[in-house]
Symmetry: C2
Subunit: 314 residues, 2 copies
Amino acid sequence: MGDLYKYIMKLQRYFENPILLPDLSSEWENYNVFNPAVIYHNNLFHMWYRAQGLDWISRIGYAVSKDGIHWNRLKQPVFIPEDAHDERGVEDPRVTELNGEFFMAYSAYRSNDRDTGESAYKGGEITPMFARSSNLISWERIGAMVLGEDNKDHVLFPRRIKKRYISFHRRPPKIWLAESDDMHLWPEVFMRPVFGPRPDNGWDSKRVGSGGVPIETEHGWLVIYHAYDSDHIYRLGVCLLDLDDPSTVIHRPKDFILEPKESWESRGDVPNVVFSCANPVVGDIVYVYYGGADHVIGLATANLDDLINFARFG
Amino acid sequence: MGDLYKYIMKLQRYFENPILLPDLSSEWENYNVFNPAVIYHNNLFHMWYRAQGLDWISRIGYAVSKDGIHWNRLKQPVFIPEDAHDERGVEDPRVTELNGEFFMAYSAYRSNDRDTGESAYKGGEITPMFARSSNLISWERIGAMVLGEDNKDHVLFPRRIKKRYISFHRRPPKIWLAESDDMHLWPEVFMRPVFGPRPDNGWDSKRVGSGGVPIETEHGWLVIYHAYDSDHIYRLGVCLLDLDDPSTVIHRPKDFILEPKESWESRGDVPNVVFSCANPVVGDIVYVYYGGADHVIGLATANLDDLINFARFG
């Protein structure tokens, strides 16, 4: 601890990144694989990743791993678009284990032409959606969190607070909080901003959005988030939120913990992007999985205590 | 019921067989896929299948399905040879769920040259082995059932009897029973034959071996087995065994329930073979998965009550 933590804390990249690449032999994932959800369950790492073929439609694939590094993928996707409301893709999954069930927050990217096709959910271009599973493979759609606006980057907290389900979401340029009694209705009256960009802070001056599932610690919810600046460079940072009311910020370090540096983070389908939807904790290590330039998947890690100290004192 | 069952009871093939083919784009499974284990767990069908590439070495792949018909395979195998004792392949998995754990019975096909390489198990050419898993994907070797003889076609019963684990095995030409207190030691003193070929009965006149996990019914253990005749044609039949002592035959119909007829059962890597390692019961349907000619995987079903009646009165 001490002064060091105030200024220096960076995630450490795995030395053989990227850990997952597009598969040229597979039509639905031969172009980009990125922005995965990852949980550790039953002694295995389970990953759901966003994948695109040359049709540029996002589908969600599943992979499993014993060590979190070497992955074995299913040949076919496990979650795909179903109608006009998500015709252009299901994107950026974030999976939360809660009471023995698994909840996937994902974004539905709707049809170009709003007037054609039947759509179950009349949202904006991008609608924040939830699905549930009891077995990790088959997913049942629950529905939308909000309709009629562009909203995404939502993720369910891993436990209820005061009996309510809690989720981040994103009303640009800020991270917001939402609450629900049943995972179906997320009343507007409960919605409130958590934190936004810091105009005078460079890397997170323009827009912020949530990362993976918030990590519960004795000092508060440890949250990894993404942000971009005026050059549209995506970086990752951390924030510590109140355990009982996660819309209250306890501390927010000024510095980021990861920025694009490697060639596969700087160049890809969207340049200069590290974007994370997953930060599972296994033992005392936080595994941060992230999309590099919307094209491949990388892994960077931190010691949990180091990351907590940085979130408290950085 | 009635007289009909005495003479007519055949499994019904799924109309779009085979349900799994070799994958030409995948080195380890581009030649043959056959003889799978299948269980129904957590609302999904889980399959472990024997696969061969052009090296003719058997590895075990995993596939998952919502309906038992359409399968999504992992790109890499989940269980592979580890040393000289199984260097030529891990074969014919049979998976049993017991007390929340999963046990795989498989055959280890040892190195050609007995004098080279380190081997953990000094068996015959073919050694009956067990492995266990808590998550369906990662498997830990338990060890051999017997050593020093060619033995295979073993399968663990789905519950203990008088506190002992029970397993079939095969000492040619008969099906045998074995018992164990701990899944490690299977003492010779407990081993005894169950039933053998019937020299005067054509289709099962030469050799018999067990099929999938025995099905517990109020009338006894319903057992599907394979047999071949003097023309080396493999067929499937049923037998009913005593619930408390499965080495006691209650009834054994004279007729078979499946024989090679389709082109993909008659022609393949080994001609004229239907060979099953899996008969999970879902609802009132018995799903019999089987290798066709050691080359592809087929599915045939029966109503459970019909099959029980045939086993009792056929």
